[in-house]
Amino acid sequence: MKFGIVVFPGSNCDHDAYHAAKHVVGQDAEFLWHKDTDLKGADALILPGGFSYGDYLRTGAIARFSPIMREVQSFAARGGPVLGVCNGFQILLEAGLIPGAMLRNRGVKFVCAHVHIRVEQTDTPFTCAARKGQVLRIPIAHGEGNYFATPDALAKLEANRQVIFRYTTAGGDVTDEANPNGSAANIAGLCNEARNVVGLMPHPERACESTLGSADGLVILESAVHAIRGGLFSAPEKAAV
């Protein structure tokens, strides 16, 4: 299968994502420039972390209007798997592909640390190879990861089982101490209603080799391979006009 990795001006985890997809998971991978209007046959898309457009105005606010986002939206609407990591997640929120918004971390500081997240649901293209309740040790690095949604929106996310990852202790308990940024309900990652678009603040692509401190992120990319090979999630080609 082929991963398409979208590169915005200011993306800085694009090469990490490419390395993990191509050299660790062993799949095809290709960069997609934000001005491109062609997804080059990618089976799954990754919107990587970084500081697109310098985070000017709000994180992800300007990137969501990049030309490639039209194609990303169309791919997502056709059921194609899309993963947003950190700034990529923020872009998905600004684009309205996933509900809610990010606020500055409750402690105001940029937080760069390994955290534990629990896999809440496994019926998405990025968790289908994981176990429900599995705890992953994955790094975060962000200043605006304090997830916000109104109480009504949160209730709807819970009812639809759209919370995919939560910050927990190493033992998998949801506690306030385990919440690094103040996110509502310890939310670290979410999916859309159709479950093919997933966003998370932690960086699985930085945790794919034990040499780097953890290989727990691997299961997220391997899930995509599993999903595509098994035909669980795919985007049919656009109908000829």
Binding site: A61, F65, A101, N105, G107, V108, F148, G182
Partner: protein, 81 residues
């Protein structure tokens, strides 16, 4: 002649503002106990190629809706000169 529109974007009252809280704490430590709360926002000056205030207001609202404010967490107010 151009019309200038001023757009004030603020966090909705229900949204926690960690930056505003930090600024309030700093003011308290400087002895300004009378500053009870601080909410931080954003301010934009838009120079618009129109002479009609009504048109300017409409245009400013359109760009605020589309880009300047995130309706999930923010609201805005417009003033036209």
């Amino acid at each position: 002649m151009k019309v200038r529109a001023r757009v004030f974007v603020t966090l909705k009252p229900s949204v926690f503002d960690p930056q505003g809280k930090t600024i309030a704490d700093a003011l308290h430590s400087l002895g300004y106990g009378g500053v009870e709360d601080v909410r931080q926002g954003k301010y934009f000056e838009l120079d618009l190629a129109t002479q009609e205030a009504a048109h300017a207001r409409k245009l400013a609202a359109e760009v605020a809706d589309k880009l300047l404010a995130n309706p999930v967490i923010e609201s805005y107010r417009i003033e036209v000169e």
